[in-house]
């Protein structure tokens, strides 16, 4: 792993922010929201070619940059700020799964992912709600290989992913499979999401051929790791989103005048902005700590992931709502970007476990 200084991370942040500034403007976000696939292939390619983002945590030996999740967290923060539309989270989660698999699989897929040539995702919904494993997709072995039957719902970037890592049940026991997105008998239906910047699909499997990549306890471990990384990545995005809505609210409070002065000179408005600043500062601190814990593999990574996701999920909803409040009537319009952040906050909250779910898990971990 490369040793990264604070200055290096700051430089990475600047580069990502600069790219997103050019390629993920509000106009572009709104344009992509209305498309079925929801992302721009040229931007996706630029992310790989110019900054190696897709391969950031993939080791050099597979064509990546070999950085840590602390650096990836910075990328997610900036994407959260810009509401980047694209299959980045999905692909990162799939790479995280593949990194845990055996060598042939890693060599087969990771270099193409790092190069921005392969878009991938994960379908691990049965694990997201915690509790026992009740698979919605089952796998059976026939003469010609494994086949999957059933339904996977809420799959990020599921409509256009070329590689899908699916958690399925083999006689009721967890196993992970790799499925090709363009398989015959795989029906992919786009979902009508509250947050149109983030596409999700339902996948219907009818005897779809699949490659077994992990089974039993190993499959469980990998699926749980995907959920932890998903929670931490989302926490980083949420922290970025909070920073952006704070900036928006303060900017408006400084310029909008009523009663002969800027509305930000009124204490009530000041206090709302101060509350948002507390949320932004706190979310950034916990999201970054959790991100650092992923690669450093701290003893209490799962606790940190839960603390980060539960805090940041609620903080983002609150901040996004406060932002609308500061904007008054104009904040309630379609044309103003405030609701885009609220929609993102609403969705990020429930993905990979909402705040209450993570507190429930924490209670168990703390023996409460």
């Amino acid at each position: 792993m490369n040793a990264v200084s604070e200055a290096d991370r700051a430089a990475l942040r600047e580069s990502v922010a600069s790219l997103l500034n050019r390629r993920s403007s509000e106009a572009e976000v709104r344009r992509l929201m209305e498309t079925e696939h929801g992302y721009d292939t040229a931007t996706w390619r630029q992310m790989a070619d110019q900054l190696g983002l897709q391969g950031l945590i993939i080791p050099d030996s597979y064509g990546g940059s070999g950085f840590t999740f602390a650096e990836l967290g910075v990328v997610f923060e900036e994407m959260g700020k810009a509401l980047y539309c694209g299959p980045f989270l999905a692909t990162v989660l799939a790479s995280a799964a593949l990194l845990e698999c055996e060598e042939t699989l890693r060599k087969e897929h990771l270099p193409r992912i790092a190069a921005g040539e392969l878009i991938a995702t994960v379908a691990v919904e049965p694990w997201l709600a915690g509790g026992g494993f009740s698979p919605t997709v089952s796998a059976a072995y026939s003469g010609s290989g494994w086949q999957l039957d059933g339904q996977a719902d809420f799959v990020l970037s599921g409509l256009h992913a070329e590689l899908i890592v699916v958690l399925a049940g083999v006689e009721g026991k967890p196993a992970l499979f790799a499925v090709s997105g363009d398989s015959a008998n795989l029906a992919r239906t786009p979902l009508d999401t509250t947050d149109r910047t983030r596409k999700q699909a339902r996948l219907d499997f009818t005897a779809v051929p699949a490659a077994l990549i992990a089974e039993g306890t190993r499959a469980t471990e990998i699926a749980q790791r995907i959920c932890v990384i998903g929670a931490v990545a989302l926490a980083a995005e949420q922290a970025g989103g909070i920073a952006e809505v704070l900036r928006m609210a303060v900017s408006y409070a400084q310029t909008r005048e009523q009663f002969g002065r800027a509305i930000g000179s009124f204490q009530a408005v000041k206090h709302t902005c101060a509350d948002m600043l507390v949320l932004a500062t706190s979310a950034a601190a916990v999201a970054r700590k959790a991100a650092a814990a992923v690669s450093a593999d701290f003893g209490d990574l799962r606790v940190l992931a839960g603390v980060a996701k539960s805090y940041c999920s609620e903080a983002f909803i609150e901040a996004a709502a406060d932002n609308i409040q500061v904007h008054g009537g104009i904040g309630f319009t379609w044309e103003h970007p405030a609701h885009l952040y609220l929609r993102r906050a609403m969705t990020s909250n429930v993905m990979f476990g909402d705040a209450g779910h993570h507190r429930e898990l924490l209670a168990g971990q703390l023996g409460v």
């Binding site: 101060a274 700590k289 805090y311 924490l362 703390l366």
Partner: protein, 373 residues
């Protein structure tokens, strides 16, 4: 050996002796005796520069030492205000003669309090009215101070007075070093709603002090008082970490209790919410610490004070909720004290309303509201 480890060794040696002598007594005399012990090892003010009698420790080491003291449950010293607030101010602004107070502060020969707030000057401290009128080579002081911590037992007071009523309010304030045994000074204990009297009211009637007791230039009292920033920073980070320890202790205690009867669902969630908040607060503290070490400014410090004060109150409420009926019938003094005592956290040292104004104006750059008149 790192300073905190050195301190640990020292405390592990001294505490048992102290506890044999004083038991669980943490009254003023006990704390004065503890300070004498710390003084023998030069551990009263490790954050002070060596030339002032300290060890010159940086913020990180100071926090680490505070945490060791907290962990080992060492008493707070009697002269805490002198060490954390008044001493550093005298070190920064004092004349060579005034600097002689420093060694007496360390030895607990002098116990200092700060005379700042008045009945009509709380959040608007700069509106203070205690008057010091020049008469030859003396000032004559008349007025009243309130919410003076340790005011009853202190020997000296860092007093903020108005020396010029005809200039803008911040410019007409001076700081005076006042011995509290002078004629004309009366003190009364102020009883807070928890029942104790940790504070005093001070009354000044024609009290005469030499002009040479001015700390810093006349009319610069406001600037002089703003000096103690770096000590505050360490203190704020320490309280953030201590709250985390407080929550973890509460969880351990609750887990023990609920072995027989499971915890009600909403109380479980409330307890975990406190855990999440406390952990997040401690992480903001870590960020503040690394900013302090790198000499970087940051909003974290003000954010911590605000978050800490709110979490303290919420934690008090959670303790009460967990304790049930016993809490209001004298069976859970800690829960009762936490709840009642924490009403002050959003008021003392800067009210929540003022803190939010400061965050909004100084950090976010929102416009100030014009003062009337």
């Amino acid at each position: 050996m790192r300073p905190a480890d050195e301190l640990r060794k020292f405390l592990e040696h001294e505490l048992p002796d102290f506890k044999r002598e004083w038991g669980s007594d943490r009254g003023f005399d006990a704390r004065r005796a503890w300070q004498a012990r710390l003084h023998s090892g030069n551990w009263v003010a490790p954050g002070w520069p060596a030339e002032d009698g300290g060890r010159g420790l940086g913020v990180a080491d100071r926090v680490a030492c505070d945490l060791v003291s907290g962990e080992l449950d060492a008493p707070v010293i009697a002269g805490i205000l002198g060490v954390n607030n008044v001493g550093p101010t005298i070190a920064a602004w004092g004349t060579p003669e005034q600097r002689a107070h420093l060694s007496r502060i360390l030895a607990a020969d002098e116990i200092w309090c700060q005379g700042f707030s008045e009945p009509d000057a709380g959040s608007d401290l700069a509106g203070l009215r205690t008057r010091a009128v020049r008469d030859g080579d003396e000032f004559v002081i008349n007025g009243q101070k309130v919410w003076t911590s340790e005011g009853m037992r202190a020997t000296h007071c860092q007093l903020l007075v108005r020396t010029d009523p005809d200039v803008p309010k911040h410019k007409g304030i001076s700081a005076l070093l006042v011995p509290l045994d002078l004629p004309g000074i009366e003190r009364r204990p102020l009883r807070q709603l928890t029942g104790e009297s940790d504070f005093a009211e001070l009354f000044f009637s024609d009290v005469r002090v030499p002009v040479s007791n001015l700390l810093g230039p006349e009319g610069e009292g406001w600037k002089v008082t703003m000096t103690t920033l770096s000590h505050e920073r360490a203190g704020v980070i320490t309280i953030a970490t201590q709250l985390e320890a407080d929550v973890e202790r509460l969880i351990a205690k609750t887990n023990q209790r609920t072995l027989a009867t499971p915890l009600r669902g909403d109380l479980r969630d409330e307890l975990i919410q406190r855990y999440v908040q406390a952990r997040v607060l401690a992480m903001v503290g870590e960020v503040s610490l690394s900013n302090a070490e790198a000499g970087r400014p940051g909003a974290e410090q003000a954010v911590i004070k605000l978050s800490w004060s709110q979490l303290s109150q919420q934690l008090g409420a959670t303790k009460m909720a967990l304790a049930g009926l016993g809490a209001v019938c004298g069976q859970e003094p800690d829960a009762e004290r936490s709840f009642l005592g924490s009403r002050a956290t959003t008021i003392a040292g800067g009210t929540t309303e003022i803190m939010k104004n400061i965050l909004a104006e100084r950090v976010l750059g929102l416009p100030r509201e014009r003062e009337r008149g």
